[in-house]
Symmetry: C2
Subunit: 142 residues, 2 copies
Amino acid sequence: MLVNEARTFRELCQENGIAVTHQRQVLYEVMKTMHGHPSPEEVYAQVKKKVPAISLATVYKNIHLFVESGVFREVSMHHGSLRVEMNDESHHHMVCSKCKAITDIGEKELGLVSKQDKLPGGFLVERYAVDVIGICAKCQQA
Amino acid sequence: MLVNEARTFRELCQENGIAVTHQRQVLYEVMKTMHGHPSPEEVYAQVKKKVPAISLATVYKNIHLFVESGVFREVSMHHGSLRVEMNDESHHHMVCSKCKAITDIGEKELGLVSKQDKLPGGFLVERYAVDVIGICAKCQQA
DNA sequence: TTATCGGACGATAATCTTTATCGTTTATAC
DNA sequence: GTATAAACGATAAAGATTATCGTCCGATAA
Ligand SMILES: [Mn+2]
Ligand SMILES: [Mn+2]
Ligand SMILES: [Zn+2]
Ligand SMILES: [Zn+2]
């Protein structure tokens, strides 16, 4: 149902107060067809087939918009620069989805269970790294 | 025990077949004193106080060496470029520590339990994102 | 339908992070 | 002490992302 899809995307844009542009709509539709965890460059390469004149900057800007709107999600909250872990204790992380702040939380404090060391595909488990995604106290106030 | 610390670091280097240089040793000692999740730039700023002539490239190279040797650990396995999640299902990720390949694993398949939505510091939980760190099948063969 | 206006676009420069290059210096083994 | 390979510092280059800015277009209302 192309018409229905179009209406859905139109509504989606209205909900988020953004214009329904040709580039934005094609980008959305192309992304819907993709699998795995594509990078902006990979998305760009696909969209270019349908809108050859599109700019990489437009792809970045709209992916960010989609992520902010909750239409798509980024694989990792901390994909920025390299960070070194200085906490020797067994622990996991609380990551604020607003300000990206990373706070340690002890393994016991988090209270997860059941670590299998056999996983599909013959994957050999070394350890679990849990990110608790949410809103930190400061960002809840604002 | 400075002498003892020095011997420890010397042994550490010998185990990993790397030379004991002044820069490398100061870098190691400075990092040991740091807390949280510093970036290479932040480490560089600290080390520069003791070895003003050190290069940022040297900091990067040695942090990588330390991480490879298991002396320090990076906070996130996927801190590279932005990746968009295209899998709608509730799932987590298996991340290969050798080749960095990311594979989906269903939430039920992983079989974790207990999601608290109250965490220390008034952190409001949205979701859990689990990275299972390990070695993928391909890298196990090689 | 048309005029208006703010948002969106494309091109590209700029920024930020990380890596590669290369001549010089230094640690290690003999 | 000398030879050799590794490590260093300076800096260019690469890769990813963002900022800038002139132009264009979609949304709104006359
Ligand atoms: Mn930590
Ligand atoms: Mn996934
Ligand atoms: Zn926050
Ligand atoms: Zn692998």
